[in-house]
Symmetry: C2
Subunit: 744 residues, 2 copies
């Protein structure tokens, strides 16, 4: 994925009520924390404070969508919605009247502030019983080693996590499903590129200059804080202080609403005005400084080969464009994909797997003729219903609407078929791996969220206890990336489009005498030849005139002025018939942060067994469950061993993962233990099993129902339950007799 | 995998004929270039030189083993073998007589020199037709984008490679087979740990201090060269110079033979004596300097959190030992595994995928009771025949011998069952993915190759055109790693062993008053408590005496002397019954460099079609082939489209990858194109296919034979050919009629 670079083109300044100048400069729209339910905990806050916030959090948590419908809540939200709509209408009017860009942008800032107030209120009004008990889930994930902090015995590193056996298997399964769903089914070109990347690549892509966060430092200790986080924490504390006047409270409220759009000057003004200090020492703070989020390193022993760890996998695909086009026999469109690690040196990582320093991404770059983004296979997905949250709906303060992706493309809500196709495929993938559809929406970027080169962007957002989390972006990035790399390297990164009819063209061409230029200018000659190669027709005419006047033609090089004489350059007319024209492809980019999807799936799968509040379990889709079945002898009697061995053999033959639990402890307790790690099916071997033909019971963890069936068929049944899209537990119940056990 | 740290304990110096002092200091036994057929090309050598060497190479290349048996060659090798054996006998006698370590080590150096001469001669004597045409394979791999240099449009970075669609799929398949073969079949605990690793972790593991190569710099330009490579290149050039005297030639020969054991002083002596200069500028060179091979970076914005990119995945498993042991219910033995990237900042990477800066490793850490390394499932593999090249055989100048792993363990050639089990499993894996068994051997480390803590090490080496390449190591590392991390962190990294009978123990114990110590010594108190906790009984007695004399007990801390009074420490006798004792597990570590295995498989699969020297192809095992089948209409007639669509549907339903080639060009040419990328099976749709029931032909690329069979069964047949271990092409031929085509 690629971040939107140049919101800066939208920069503007104006004076608002509280005399803060506002600029929009957005550096990292992807992986941006959604505003609604930001974690309000800095890492250094006292435990006391954390507990308070956790409590407050619980009232805000999740099951958001279902609550939105109640009439009481709607009544309270109506005026806020109206306030948003008011500004949306103003903006539409401004646009219709071709108002200056500045005026529109000002209005957008106000609109966003109103929207934020609406969203905050929505969350506040959630019924308390909809709260999600995150600490309980976290305890389970840690205890059963799904994942945990890296290097904990060395004190740990924030933002780095190690996946244990359960998390690793879950993630691997999710990646395998991703690979099958996207790469194999659509015959994409999968690549695996280096993570170590030379600096010039990220200079061209814009990361070296603009992939930054603003931080402030304690002037005495040097301790660093992300400037926006610091302001947020201070402002919230001050706002909730009884001594603070209502006037100041309103000002702070306003700052919090607008904070996302602040640049360094805006932030400095706030810090100065309210005299915010280091939360740890109380010392003064420096002005906000830019901090590049890429991890730097050096390649080779000389120390002068600067490199970075890639913050995204996308650039590796772009720099391989030529090879991939060739692999595809020169034809457009085609899609390349990559699954791999990305690294971001977050100033203060937090929110568990949501904001980390090392993560796995799955990215697709679909290269397409910019003038034809239709896609024949779009018809296969066009009837899919999806939760679409358009920019218009956001402007109007509405919620998302359900419609088919076909309708959305037809109405121009989604820009083109290719983009729509990928959104639908993402929708299908997320449902496959266990995302709750009522907590999934595709949110369109508003104009001021997108980079200037981007045509249309839609984020797949999933509602978790951290709020709406962006888990996959879908951006039409036009030809930005290829153009940047082509300019930086002088390598043509384009494809050929067949002309409907051959075309005759004529003009002037310039032919350099390479050997003479080489002899005269040695190292610089490559640069000179490149410059000559990129001259426009107008410029070639000028060269011709200059040479005809028996003068030398001068070119600026990094080594000073180069003088080119008549024996070095020949200008002559040409005429030729062309059958193709060059085109720099547009790129449509779906980009997944797989750790985020995984965390969302874990939240959505977390259940409490009815009638037993203490018994939590994970109801993961069998397709991605780390272990497909448990094998439990009813007691630890040795006589069960041969039967268990037969079961294992069959299970293994079907490539299924299993876990034997023959420890002491009641069967009920052992069920609970396997339920907790999301094992969907359990095979129990009991005394009845010894009778021929041997039978076992099969338990469905989701419902705790059990059937009895022949040992010989159990592995095949589980295999079908895990891999078939049509065979379900209902089919099993129809096929085999229910078994009633006292233990569930 | 982990490198052997402390060959330095074997360091010694002596004067040999050519007055060069010799020390053994080996930093990186894994991924070390085998001596026999080292690439003799530095990256900067002129093209001319490269061509010469390539020619020389061809005479040396591969198919080595099969040639070793001819009697003429054996006759020439016999005296060299005898020379080796002579020294092996001397060493045995020295050992038997308990000779000083120094004397033995001296003799080992001589032995190694004689062994090298033998090996070089073996390669020289290879028949020319056994040569392997590497440039042809490389051309194919580049042209069909298996892999290629990273960032080529930016000039490329040596030692970094991007995998294209074919290489990526091949590697993914090899990894998936690895995961199934090792992790799933043996129920290992798979983990995925952070690549970014804080400095203290590698300080403890020894990498910060000792994971280095020696380099020399051009004193004027700063250009860097690996010291041993530089000496090798200079010495070889000088040796082949006609003007060089025979005496000097012999000296140089000797240097080349001993170079692997040189330390910085030895190398400096050589460079000084022969006045070796920079091969590029002719300038003088600095003395050899240590260069750490880990890529450094920093975590967070402050600049004081030093970190490295891991050079191996193993440490991530060790630091998670406690969690993993807990996951395994506290029981030994268990195995954890990790598949992931490692990074090494090679001074001069070369030999394609063999020595790279970023690579994928597969590592297993098997934790076992050091007093019981037997393994019940060893019986499953004990009859496997393997090519074992023991340290004894190497000492005697013999070749490897074939024997069962059971015999090897029984005779004590392989140290224990657990180690033997993994060697056998590796053998099976390598054969599964297509390594030629006649070019595979397991070579035991000789005493001076192993770290002092290692019990036994066996490398799986594969013969390629680069010589014998180490592709997987198998080391019994004893308790070294866990002990190092436990010492560095004061966290207990041990398991419990049940005692046969409960044991009563009594003694003195020391109980610190933590709150008083904490109050008095604040930050230092943690260190003080750790020191108190590690006191021996003798030391506790001394504390007791000191306190009884009403004196304060003094402890040295990093913050100066701490004085502990009677109210801070209580010493009292205790008596208790224990049922378990603590044990720090031994670690047995199989470690794979998967890129190397892949390259070896590509070489071993590379074939020329009989009767057509220009037609090369890859005969990859269907299990790992990037694409399982091609679909080729006999001509590009539209009428074939519905049949092709049916084939695709069936193929996809079986989860098989495919490639349709309906381009113009004869069917023979299209076969050649699919053979080249290792597609094992081809489905051809012809005019006969249109008749009902629809049929197609199925082609086996390995033999170019074809059968005709019903369209409805073709996908299942291919699926079985790719995944079953018993169903082969012979079965297909028995089942379906052969189809005779003119095109092969």
């Amino acid at each position: 994925m690629s971040f939107s670079l140049t919101k800066s083109f939208l920069k503007f300044t104006f004076r608002c009520n509280n005399t803060i100048s506002v600029r929009l400069l957005c550096t990292k729209p992807f992986y941006k924390v959604p505003k609604a339910a930001n974690a309000k905990v800095t890492q250094r806050k006292s435990l006391e404070n954390q507990a308070k916030i956790t409590k407050k959090f619980k009232q805000r948590l999740s099951d958001y969508l279902r609550t939105m419908a109640t009439p009481e809540i709607e009544a309270k939200l109506a005026p806020l919605r109206a306030a948003v709509k008011e500004y949306a209408d103003i903006i539409r009017e401004l646009k219709a009247n071709n108002a200056p860009q500045n005026d529109i942008a000002k209005a957008v800032v106000e609109l966003k502030a109103r929207k934020k107030k609406l969203e905050d209120t929505e969350i506040e009004l959630m019924p308390k019983d909809a709260a999600f008990d995150r600490p309980k889930l976290e305890d389970l994930l840690k205890r059963r080693f799904f994942y945990d902090q890296s290097f904990a015995i060395y004190g740990g590193v924030s933002g780095l996590y190690d996946y244990g056996p359960m998390g690793c298997a879950l993630k691997q399964n999710m990646l395998q499903v991703w690979r099958n769903h996207f790469i194999i089914e659509d015959s994409m070109l999968e690549v695996e590129c280096s993570m170590l990347t030379p600096s010039p690549v990220f200079k061209a892509s814009g990361h070296v200059d603009r992939f930054v966060d603003w931080m402030v430092k304690d002037v005495k200790t040097g301790e660093c804080f992300r400037a926006d986080h610091l302001i947020k924490n201070h402002a919230e504390k001050l706002k909730s202080d009884k001594k603070t006047s209502n006037e100041v409270k309103a000002e702070l409220e306003d700052i919090l609403n607008r904070l996302d759009g602040f640049d360094n000057n805006d932030m400095q003004n706030v810090i100065k005005k309210y005299d915010f200090k280091s939360p740890i020492t109380g010392n003064d703070l420096t002005e906000p400084q830019a901090f590049n989020l890429m991890f730097p390193t050096e390649i080779g022993p000389t120390g002068d080969f600067k490199a970075y760890l890639r913050p995204e996998t996308a650039q590796g695909i772009f720099v391989n464009f030529k090879r991939l086009l060739e692999f595809n026999a020169g034809k457009l469109p085609f899609a390349a994909a990559q699954i791999g690690a990305g690294f971001r040196n977050e100033i203060s990582p937090r929110q568990g797997l949501i904001r980390v320093r090392e993560f796995t991404m799955c990215e697709i770059e679909h290269f397409v003729d910019p003038e034809n983004k239709s896609l024949p296979k779009f018809k296969k997905v066009k009837d899919m219903m999806m939760n679409l949250f358009s920019a218009d709906a956001q402007m109007d303060g509405k919620s998302f609407t359900r419609m088919t992706i076909g309708e959305a493309v037809e109405k121009g809500i989604v820009d083109n078929e290719t983009l729509g196709y990928y959104m639908a495929r993402t929708n299908l993938y997320l449902l496959k791996v266990g995302v709750d559809e009522t907590k999934l929406r595709f949110r369109q970027h508003m104009a001021n969220e997108m980079a200037h080169y981007a045509k249309d962007c839609w984020d797949a957002e999933i509602l978790t206890s951290y709020g709406w989390i962006e888990c996959a972006g879908h951006a039409d990035r036009s030809c930005y990336d290829l153009t940047q790399h082509a300019n930086a390297t002088n390598v043509k990164l384009s494809a050929e489009r067949k002309l409907d009819a051959p075309k005759k063209i004529s003009g002037l061409e310039i032919v350099p005498n390479k050997s003479i230029i080489g002899k005269n200018y040695k190292k610089t000659s490559k640069e000179i030849l490149a410059k000559i190669g990129s001259l426009s027709i107008e410029e070639i005419k000028k060269v011709d005139e200059t040479l005809n006047q028996s003068k030398e033609y001068e070119i600026e090089t990094s080594d000073g002025l180069a003088k080119l004489s008549k024996d070095m350059l020949t200008v002559k007319p040409f005429e030729k018939t062309i059958h193709v024209e060059e085109v720099t492809p547009s790129v449509i980019e779906p980009s997944f942060g797989i750790g985020r999807v995984m965390y969302a799936v874990l939240e959505h799968s977390f259940r409490t067994r009815e009638g037993d509040e203490q018994r939590n379990f994970l109801q993961l889709p069998p397709l991605i469950a780390p272990i497909k079945c448990s094998i439990l002898p009813i007691s630890s009697n040795e006589r069960f061993e041969p039967i268990i061995e037969s079961v294992v053999q069959l299970i293994t033959a079907f490539g299924l993962t299993y876990k034997i639990d023959d420890s002491a402890g009641s069967i009920g307790r052992r069920y609970a233990r396997t339920d907790e790690i999301g094992i969907p099916f359990g095979i129990t071997v009991d005394f009845e099993s010894e009778k021929e033909p041997h039978t076992v019971t099969l338990r469905n963890a989701a419902t705790t129902e059990q059937v009895r069936l022949e040992l010989l068929v159990v592995a095949e049944v589980i295999h079908k339950l895990c891999n078939s899209t049509t065979y379900t537990w209902d089919d099993v119940k129809k096929q085999f007799p229910l078994f009633i056990s006292e233990q569930k």
